[in-house]
Subunit: 277 residues, 2 copies
């Protein structure tokens, strides 16, 4: 299969040519992780059914030597099952279960809120022929005008940034969500961040966000797969007067790490909590 090591990949982009959909981004990384060259079929939001010869209304979709495979998760399962001799996207079934839990946190906490912060930018940056579809479909999904939904994002963006601290805690202890090398967990969480870089006219993350290192290393992978010239700067989030810190700056360290190394390591806390006023 995969003649000439190449798989056909149906892309979904803005007018600037960079991929938009978080799912399509994750799939592009997944194909490269498996070592394939990709034959990109470009396009926007309208005409997917026609472009794919009636095979699907949604992307991602790939064609491997004539075999159509749909759905971001369907493609991951197909690639690992069909090519188990290549680097695994999901190296252990526990990685699948935990990625699903993390993704189920990530969407309501960050991805959905970010989409609501950039829904009008998104419409403005898509192809001319997509604007009517994007406006209608997103206003139906959101239940209001895109401009009204996007309004007030200056207040919301720092809150979203503060809420994604669990990623910072994990990536403080590990180089990748995959451990010492990236896997589909990284690509799945990265997808929505590259969506932001595709559609966000204002930055979503602080200049010195600790996640920046991981994000930029992800963008460098596979010959700079995440460095399309159409992408917009992610960093430089402005926090309004009185707004929350966009990430935890305190020296206090939460999360899992080896903290109790004996009485000397806990003495200060013990003294604090047992002192009677």
């Amino acid at each position: 299969m995969a003649a000439n090591n190449t798989i056909t990949f149906y892309d979904l982009t803005m007018a600037h040519g960079a991929t938009t959909s978080p799912f399509v981004w994750a799939t592009k990384y997944a194909l490269k992780h498996k070592g394939f060259d990709i034959d990109v079929v470009p396009g926007g939001f309208t005409g997917i059914l026609e472009r794919t010869g009636g095979k699907t209304e949604r992307l991602p979709a790939i064609v491997d030597d004539g075999k159509w495979v749909l759905d971001s998760w369907g493609i991951v399962e197909y690639l690992d099952a069909t090519y188990p001799d290549r680097p695994m996207l999901i190296p252990h079934e526990s990685v699948a279960a935990l990625t699903k839990a993390l993704d189920a946190w990530w969407w309501p906490t960050a991805v959905g809120p970010w989409m609501r912060c950039f829904c009008a930018d998104y419409r403005d940056l898509c192809f001319e022929h997509d604007k009517d579809y994007v406006t209608t479909s997103r206003e139906k999904m959101l239940g209001m005008k895109l401009e009204d939904m996007q309004a007030g994002r200056e207040e919301r963006l720092p809150q979203i940034s503060a809420a994604i601290e669990p990623l910072r805690m994990a990536l403080r202890e590990h180089q990748w969500l995959g451990g010492s090398s990236p896997n589909y967990a990284d690509y799945r969480i990265l997808g929505p961040i590259l969506f932001l870089a595709s559609v966000g006219k204002v930055p979503s993350l602080a200049e010195d966000d600790p996640l920046r290192d991981w994000i930029e290393r992800c963008r460098d992978l596979f010959g700079g797969l995440g460095r399309h010239p159409g992408l917009i700067n992610l960093y430089g989030l402005k926090v309004p007067e009185g707004g929350p810190e966009p990430y935890m700056r305190e020296s206090w360290r939460g999360g899992i790490y080896k903290r109790n190394t004996g009485p000397a390591s806990t003495r200060a806390e013990t003294e604090h909590i047992t002192k009677k006023d």
Copy 2:
């Protein structure tokens, strides 16, 4: 090492004799997962330094043939490194990274809020000789009287239950967080739920919570390790008039699963979002 396949385990319990600390629970499961018998040194919150001969102020702690190992994460690393021929607690380094991300979500979302809902029950249920320490230390940590912190929990418990939906989504697709068999990710997330069963005088989860199946299967592991007779019923959460659903009952399915199987699977959504009013 581990003469007679036995490791010494310093427990931390309420007066009813069941383990309390989430970390100590997770460690007890970890030792059993590795196939060890455990020689339990019982005890409460005060006198840990004396009980352990000055080795530690905090539990869990284990002694393996004279070698002291401290800290819940330190013990996991020790067990997998020392006994790699036994079932792995962390079968892939990505499981470590993802468990850390999930745990960093779990604590501020559920464990901390649950602890604030049960802090006075917790004091009431501990050993008599622990009550002064527990009251002082927890009031220091919380910055208020235990009774005041616990007040109003009827309103908060359904919100906490609703917020843990990411676990339900992952466990809808997989039998365990470990995949087809449990690993440390399961035990780490389970620990705080067994803490609830140890200290909560009112139920935290709905009678028909979808998590119940996984929780009860976890409790059955290793000869019913999570079935100490001192433990309190977890199910039967009462939601006050107008309170949130304690879990998502709608037929809408979020999360990662193979959803696009072709145009028939997306047609209803497409018609909805493209219909002009």
